[in-house]
Amino acid sequence: MAGGDKSQESDVPRQKSFATPETLKVGCIAMVYKEGKTRKAEILGVKDTKSGKQFYCNFDNFNKRLDEWVPLARVDLLQEVEWPNPEKPKDAKKSGGQATKKTAAPPSKKVQKRPFPREESVASEGGSTPHPFAEFAATQHSTPSADGNEKLTLALDLDATPGAEDDDPMDVDVEKSVSLAISAKAQPQENFDREEEIEKLRVGGSMTQNQAEISRIRNISKVQFGRYDLYPWYFSPYPETFAQEDLMHICEFCLMYYADPKSFDRHRSKCTMQHPPGNEIYRDDYVSFFEIDGRRQRTWCRNLCLLSKMFLDHKTLYYDVDPFLFYVMTTRDDKGCHLVGYFSKEKESLDGFNVACILTMPQYQRKGYGRLLIQFSYELSKIEGKLGSPEKPLSDLGLLSYRQYWTENLVEILLEHNERDERCSIEHLAALLAMTASDVESTLQALKMQVYHKGEHKIVVPTHLIKKHEALKEKFKTKPKRTIIAERIQWKPPVFTASNRTWGW
């Protein structure tokens, strides 16, 4: 299994040796303590602070939102460090066109180079040193299960010998996915073409898969927004000088951004906006939805995009907001309508997406708002008489939210059919929920509901899902479920003329 995957990997021999605090540099892969364990981490940035050197680390198989600046104390220097390969354009040329293209693209900042796992396919030379992950996998196999997990603490462990690699927290189950990850991560790199993507983005879409685009160091450290302090997850192209600020202020209503507190005070004394600048198209006791045209409210929508970029990894701000509509969910109080989340939608999606970007603000996450956003997007699709699907790639949180929404709704419909002893086709399910048939299919498969049994395709609802469904039903008896009430939507699908299309919306 592992061997098969190994053959697919682009083997890049990397120099390994011990490092000193002085020699640690951008591109190194070192073992760094995180959540009580040492983990492989790539150093993406180095900075000097008063308390000493700090390293910006991206942890292997951790989402980038968990990237962080770590002090030297957390870097395990007793383990060997993998050094970034020096660029060898000649070798790269030999290995094929793609690699040449990659190296030709000038990433002026070293940060954009990702030695692992998003590395270039450079021709192997010698092959004496195996790939770090292959070696890692091998050691995993040779050593029985890691019982030393508890041994490790955050403090530097003097016991940590080179053999300490054995103590890596990843158990054998994960290991498979690790090797999978390498091949998976290598793939998009190979057939990725930046120009192609820019062209694709020009005509539609808002998500990028460009690694250089998304593998950036977070530039804003803290944002004061309304009643909350937000800690951004990802890079966002706010003015460059903001990167040096400890705190950035964003006006809760017009979303203007200020590094200077005095400016922000002045702005607040003048700003009269109290809700998103568009038409309210939905209202219930709990939330309101506003529809905002990217072309008419360019400043506001740009501000919203900048704000949401801090929490959406794959969102791209390469092109302007004109071809999008923004559906903004708010809660009301005596101060105004507060931004809870939003989704954007292409005015005319060639791929039939009904959502481009979708985000619940961090301060409102895990409260069920995401489900409302998703439901609203499907209600709009129902009004349009279309089947919709969110634009890919989804983020991890996005996938979970969508899975949850899909599962709950599918289970409900399936159980109803089961009670009435009716048959149900995938298309029927899709039409009921305004989901695309392929989304229905993938959900059924992911939840192990789609089976082939006794020469027939059947849908089986697993017991745990039935239990969950009944539990929810119980819960909603006492506390009514928050849903979008379709009758309260006052909305007609906006119509755009040919000239809109020609002249960039």
Binding site: D229, P239, M273, L317, R332, H453, I459
Partner: protein, 534 residues
């Protein structure tokens, strides 16, 4: 063993159609062991929609596994948001909000809602406070300061739109002139101080990076919100022409507008000059009056008031031209400005011209036909020996007169008719030589050109060659030279033959074709039955 069976089982799986109705079971309705087995088959990977590189992240995998296995939902750790400590919020957000009863409709932009476009920074604050301290007199409020700064920014944007590229700094004089226009009244010395402060601060304003030129910024992560070029529309000649026309029209209209503006400008300048002159005259007169009083000059005060403009002598000219008017029908129309040409004049002129053309054409025709003798024996047209030249046969309507212009009155129409009559007398007529002159039995040929350029040669009075019965070809030549009107072929016809009737009955009748409309079918059939008259 199971493993050996698997491939066979997998191969047998029918393809699942999306429209196929599927049975829905609960998990307990199926044997649990069997259920477990069923998933051994599933090999195809599920597309999750998450980017492949991130699909393997530990936390996501854990959460997904939890969702499928029914364990407690795994959470993906994310940096949380904190509530800002202190009463900061209520100070900053003081306005209270009344939710309207109806759904909000709103189209103001951010710029509309934020008032002055400049928000002063801490540095500005320090500067202004110090400046105000230095100045004992006029204190400038923060609002005023911001207003001035916004004006600087705005002016800079219009005067040096590429400042971000070439670092142009708009000079103070330009700013000052704008300020003078905007701020009614005197521009205090604050302007210079503010301007100097602005120049220092200008470069420090944090701003988003927008695209500036094509090269070298694709990789810059800070450049955002690029313009999307419009989609290519299909290029056709018609579209090209249409846009060219539209452009031309637009240009014309713009030029018209420009002309109008210029003319208006000219007019206003003249008005101003006129006013100035009058004022000057008034002043001069006042001086003159004073002088007169002082020197006690007694004269009429004609030069102190404006004389009434003299009556224009032109008015007396009008009666002289009256006859022109008189020619108009009714004569009820009042005098017309003499320089205007009369309609009737133009009409007569036109008619004369027409007449001249007609005459020249007649002359021409006569010339062409001078030596023409028409020797045809019986010209197709009836001979009318009215014309002066009998050798011409009559031809009607050789010339078509121009239709009278639609706007002319009835009288003009009559005039036209008169001319026509007159012209009729001069019309050329052709006639063949008198019949008596014609030689009997003279051979004659006539060449005719028929439709589609077919050439015909008519012969007349050909002496029949001695008949040679054997010479079939020769006889055949003359076959049609004889006119045998009274000798027509008789086709034998059986009046009681029903073939025609039978044929007719097979045809769909009209009533069949349109049952609604009754038609005189019987009569038609009867007519068809009748034998042709012989």
């Amino acid at each position: 063993m199971k493993r050996a069976q698997q491939p066979a089982r997998v191969a047998r799986v029918k393809k699942l159609s999306r429209s196929q109705g599927q049975q829905i079971l609960r998990e307990e309705e199926i044997d649990s062991r069997e259920y477990e087995d069923l998933f051994q088959q599933q090999v195809n990977k599920i597309t999750s929609g998450v980017e492949a590189a991130e699909e393997t992240e530990i936390h996501l995998q854990a959460a997904l596994a939890a969702a499928t296995s029914g364990a407690n939902e795994g959470e993906i750790p994310a940096p949380p948001a904190d509530e800002t400590p202190g009463n900061h919020y209520n100070i900053l957000y003081q306005r209270s909000f009344d939710n309207p009863v109806s759904y909000i409709r709103f189209s103001n932009t951010v710029e509309d809602c934020t008032g002055c476009g400049y928000d002063m920074t801490s540095e500005d604050d320090v500067f202004l406070k110090e400046y105000n301290k230095k100045k004992s007199g006029g204190r400038y409020s923060e609002d005023f300061f911001e207003k001035i700064m916004a004006m600087f920014e705005e002016t800079a944007k219009t005067h040096a739109p590429y400042a971000s590229v070439d670092n142009t700094v708009v000079p103070f004089d330009t700013m000052k002139s704008v300020l003078v226009d905007r701020v009614r009244g005197e521009v205090g010395e604050f302007a210079k101080a503010f301007y100097d402060h602005w120049v220092i601060r200008q470069q420090l304003q944090p701003a988003l990076k927008y695209e500036t030129s094509k090269d070298n910024e694709d990789a810059d992560p800070y450049v955002c919100f690029r313009r999307r070029d419009g989609r290519q529309t299909r290029k056709t000649r018609a579209r090209d022409n249409a846009s060219v026309d539209r452009l031309k029209k637009l240009r014309r209209e713009m030029e018209d507008a420009r002309g109008m503006v210029l003319a208006t400008h000219q007019r206003e300048i003249m008005k101003r000059d006129l006013l100035r002159t009058e004022r000057m005259i008034f002043g001069q007169r006042a001086i003159l009056k004073d002088t007169k009083v002082r020197l006690s000059i007694k004269s009429n005060d004609d030069d102190l008031i404006n004389q009434k403009p003299q009556k224009r002598p032109r008015q007396s000219d009008v009666p002289a031209r009256a006859p022109v008017v008189g020619r108009l029908p009714n004569g009820s129309i009042g005098p017309i400005a003499p320089e205007l040409p009369q309609l009737s004049d133009i009409q007569t002129e036109k008619e004369n011209a027409l007449q001249r053309i007609i005459e020249t054409k007649t002359q021409l025709h006569r010339k062409w036909n001078e030596d023409h003798i028409d020797l045809t024996r019986e010209p197709l047209s009836p001979v009318e020996d009215r014309g002066p030249e009998p050798s011409f046969r009559p031809a009607t309507a050789q010339y078509r007169y121009l239709t009278p212009p639609s706007s002319v009155n009835s009288e003009a129409f009559e005039q036209n008719a008169l001319i026509q009559k007159e012209a009729e007398g001069t019309i050329n007529r052709y006639s063949s030589p008198p019949v008596e002159i014609e030689l009997q039995a003279q051979r004659a040929y006539r060449k005719r050109v028929g439709r589609l350029g077919r050439l015909w040669i008519d012969r007349r009075n050909m002496a029949p060659t001695p008949l040679n019965d054997n010479d079939v070809i020769m006889t055949d030549r003359w076959k049609y030279d004889q006119e045998d009107d009274d000798e027509q072929d008789v086709y034998p016809m059986d009046p009681y033959d029903i073939t025609a009737l039978r044929y007719r009955s097979t045809l769909p009748t009209r009533s069949e074709r349109s049952a609604a409309r009754p038609s005189p079918n019987d009569r038609l059939t009867a007519a068809a039955l009748q034998p042709p008259a012989t």
